[in-house]
């Protein structure tokens, strides 16, 4: 029984395609992703993008929900510090990100799964690089299985 589980897990590991949820701000990162598209750059299809007007809109609950619903990684894309279309929204996002990162680490979400990147509207190639890098890193970490049923442990 153990062997088949192990085997299944191995198979799963080699065939594992990480599921990444990406929250992009409308003015910078979303446009960078569009630019990557118009320039026909190629990157892995693992991310699902959710558009918000500003990275400052991101409630930590969104990130937690993404992990809880099965995401193996969450990426936040915003404008570079100083360049936020709404002046300071990205700084607020940064603060929340640092705090949230600590919290989710305690919950067992390793480094590399939850990531914040500043990508400006003209940085299509950077977006591509980040996508490729993140997918590979999360792939190496394996599935998160955060919502998998917990094994019963006998208590004597």
């Amino acid at each position: 029984m153990l062997e088949t589980v192990k085997e299944a897990k191995n198979q799963e590991a080699t065939a594992f395609e990480p599921r990444i949820v990406a929250f992009f701000c409308n003015w910078c990162t979303y446009l960078a992703a569009d630019l990557a598209g118009t320039s026909r750059m190629k990157y892995p299809p693992n991310a699902r993008v959710i558009r918000v007007m500003c990275s400052g809109r991101l409630d930590p609950q969104f990130i937690l929900k993404a992990f809880a619903d099965g995401a193996d990684g969450v990426l936040i894309g915003g404008c570079h510090p100083g360049d936020c279309h709404y002046q300071e929204g990205n700084y607020k996002c940064l603060r929340r990100f640092h705090l949230l990162k600590r919290v989710v680490k305690e919950m067992g979400i390793e480094d590399g799964r939850f990531r914040l990147e500043w990508i400006s509207a003209s940085e299509g190639d950077r977006l591509r690089t980040v996508m490729i890098d993140m997918v590979e890193k999360v792939r190496a970490l394996g599935p998160l299985h955060w919502n998998a049923p917990v094994e019963e442990v006998a208590v004597s």
């Binding site: 569009d34 598209g37 918000v52 007007m53 400052g56």
Partner: protein, 698 residues
Amino acid sequence: MPERNGAVRVGVYVCHCGSNIAGIVDCKEVAEYAAGLIHVVVSRDYKYMCSDPGQDLIRNDIQEHKLNRIVVAACSPHLHEHTFRVATANGGLNPYYMTMVNIREQDSWVHTDRQAATEKASDLVRAAIRRVVLQRPLEKARVPIDPNVLVVGGGIAGIHAALTLANAGKHVYLVEREATIGGHMAMFDKTFPTLDCAACILTPKMSAVKAHPNITLWAYSDVEKVDGYVGNYKVRVRRRTRYIREDLCAGCQECIEACVYKQPKFADEFNQGLGKRRPIYLPFPQAIPQTPVIDRDTCIEFNEPRKIRWLTSLSQGAFSAPRGQCCLSPHFARLWKSGKCKKTCLEACGDRHAIDFKLQDQLEEIKVGTIILATGFQPFDAKRIPYYGYGHYPNVYTSLEIERLVNASGPAAGEVVLRDGKTVPKSIGIIHCVGSRDENTNRWCSRVCCMYSLKLAHLLKEHTGADIFNFYIDMRTPGKSFEEFYQRLLSEGVHFIRGKVAEVTDWVFDPSEEGKLTLRVEDTLLGVVRRIPVDMVVLSVGMEGHQDAQDVRRLFNITCSTEGFFQERHPKLAPVNTFTDGIFLAGCCQGPKDIPDTVAQAGAAAAEALALICAGYVEQEPNCAYVIEEECSGCKTCIPLCPYSAISFREDNRAEVNPVLCKGCGTCVAACPSGSLQQRMFEDDELFEEIEGVLVHA
């Protein structure tokens, strides 16, 4: 809870976009998948959703199938969200019951695995369906447009835009940093390909600006602060003082003649450091405004350390080797100025009393509805290429210096002589692409240099009869009559050598090279390395964005491209718009271009501004934050977070958002602990559905 107009009935449309999407994403499969999802009544795939028939599909389906939600999976919402909102509205449905899914720029164009791309499209469509169910009907807010316009930059682009707008009856504030308008074009001698005299075609426009009742010209001024949004910008302008009152000055220039500096001593910025000026000066004879400037840095009356600005402020110029033309007299070399001058200028002004050393900078606050940025370019600093010898060998010049030299109103009255002030060069080498098309400096082509190099070759030959060599990599002559101009130069006996010059050096190999500058170059058409000794070398420097472009663009809340020019909204379809509504670009600040294209772009920017002004209002996306009053606990967490101070605290202990000031970032919404602050179009429940939708299969 969102309002329900009966049961939710969703229409899904998956666009092929020809083969752009359908080539990778199986649109049929996505549509079929959507058809099986809850609430979906109609699910189609179609070749071109943005076309008339495509939009009609939406319109007709809404009516026929009583749809009350629409999902369009196609290109980026940045392109066609508006199109589909209109189509939805035409069908009789509130346009905010429509949501778009990006399966082109962010799916079919960036992925190669068909199955994965189709699965991604399906996931995104599923999420959009879940989201759209919760969307609310919204109305666009209308914002009035102030008819005044601010044009920043008084070169040919700014001048043309200002005149166009002023002639249309709108009031324009034209703010220019230098003491005179005219920009770089005022420095040129003749312009290609017609060899029109630049000043002759420019100065009438400059005078028109001065005379126009609808233009307020503020030269020697900077924009200091910009607040607000499209239609309602509040701008603070600092009008730096020239210590001479424009309204009292008659433009007689007797003050300049009377200055205690009997001989001009300071590097003349307009003449690229080739000429000299006094502390009180007019940049050039046809300067507008025709009021001299007293330069604080060099005038003795101001008791401050003299910043030797000419050494640092010129982007090219100041030589390490003494030149006889441009050094300060040792008599005035002490760092501190006395602060006591005879002020002969004041005397000469006499009864007019236009000169006043007590004047201060003036701050002006203006309200405008639209802004046009026409701040121009900065020439490449030739010193960055040490092997061309600029700044090391005296007789290496930049193209702008030559423009001033050949100009009849330049520092040498049109006599082209070397730095010694007397020798007429008998051979001249013109090097193309200096700083451009080079990984080490700037990668781009500056577009105008081949043409102006040809022009300079022609002018120099005319002025000196010298042997002229143009060293080029490619000959770029794309405009109207440009190729014909090149042919003309070929017939004038100018030598053209195809090769990138490796170095400009003074080492002598052959006695005939003694006293000259030798250009070493591989002549790629002959296939040999050549040494060409010349008397004078001209570097055709490229264009760059201004050094302070990053600071300026932050002021206006726009972006710069990686090259350092201001970023246009779309390189083909929106070359004069920026991502900030109401702010437009004109001229070389957006990218290198020649005068015809600059003028065209300035007209385009003026037209865009006029379009807004004539409409009278602009519709704002209704994505403001709002407070659900019953649930607000009055904790005040949100209040300090808003950069626009749009949230206020009411007497009844509730927060309130001012929809006019709110820009819709949503930062306050994310912070609200009770969830009573929400953002329209980006409600918490809508986003939760979208997140769940991309991950959880129905």
